[in-house]
Symmetry: C2
Subunit: 209 residues, 2 copies
Amino acid sequence: MSKRGEDRREKILDVAQASILQKGFSATSIEEILEKAHITKGGFFYHFPGKSELARALVERYLRDDMVFFDTLERRARELSDDPLQQMLLFINLLAEAMENLEDVHPGCLVASFTYESQLLDEDIKALIATGTLQWREKFAGMLARIEESHRANLEVDHDEVADMLSATIEGGIILSRVMADKALLVQQLKQYRNYIKLMYTPAAGVLA
Amino acid sequence: MSKRGEDRREKILDVAQASILQKGFSATSIEEILEKAHITKGGFFYHFPGKSELARALVERYLRDDMVFFDTLERRARELSDDPLQQMLLFINLLAEAMENLEDVHPGCLVASFTYESQLLDEDIKALIATGTLQWREKFAGMLARIEESHRANLEVDHDEVADMLSATIEGGIILSRVMADKALLVQQLKQYRNYIKLMYTPAAGVLA
């Protein structure tokens, strides 16, 4: 695709995503996207045969960008510390910092948005979302597993469940932030999750029955 | 309202809510509700002048039922133990048990669903949702405050933030459960939250720096 074609495709995706996160997939019309992206019907259909293909492209881009974001934060955390526990705590701090630096309340998560309109989506898009969510689990669980090479946990840690808790914290924190129109709530929730990890591996805490 | 009128109103709300949680508010048409609730257009408009009033009634009922549910679990936890920490841990266990006993994956939270279509809602409905979410915070924060009358925490506990974390855990856990089509994920997340509370107040854990 030409640079101009790519830019146009990205613009369509940007406009569609912003609208979907505010009023949902169903209420976001192609007409509205054309208008906001300053694109013709032909231009739209050249990139996306229909709304279903648009949804798929949005999910693919969203999951890819999220993973790049998480990878970048993890790399930075590894640069800053050699200790896997500190790396995890730094990772959460960097994530919280990024959420704090957002201009406004977090715009929302496409995974959550689509999940609440799941009946409108094709099965392959739902499968894509599930795969993406499993990749988050895998990434975070890997970070937790490395901690236990040099730290002893104060209770039995199910890496997958604790990894999922970071995803759940992000999803739940975004919802609370939006409901209260306060970006601080997402940041606070990430810090609570960080406290949990800290309590889990602090040697002073001793072994729990 | 007559018993029959009330039953009919409840039926409309049940049918509308089930549909909204699966495909969103926008894609849920009045026509579809009439058909599924076996009700005439006149019957519907007798109860709700339009979709906006329907949305408001749904939120009111949802928040009220949720609070009744939480109150019932808290009362039961108080019957089972005199100790506020045990009451909190029991409360979370009872909640997890209720989620485990659901026949299927959790049907979804109306607060989350509406939050992802918030641009379609009137300001007063959004305010209602924010008030309801603050009531959850108040309830859980009260339970946490009582713990500290007789237990010392291992780190500084912001009651509001830790209270919000239970709401975030429920919201995030529901999303993960739905994405993976596995009701166990919500239960697991509640147990992780329970672990956090446990680590926070276990005396063996000592005071964290």
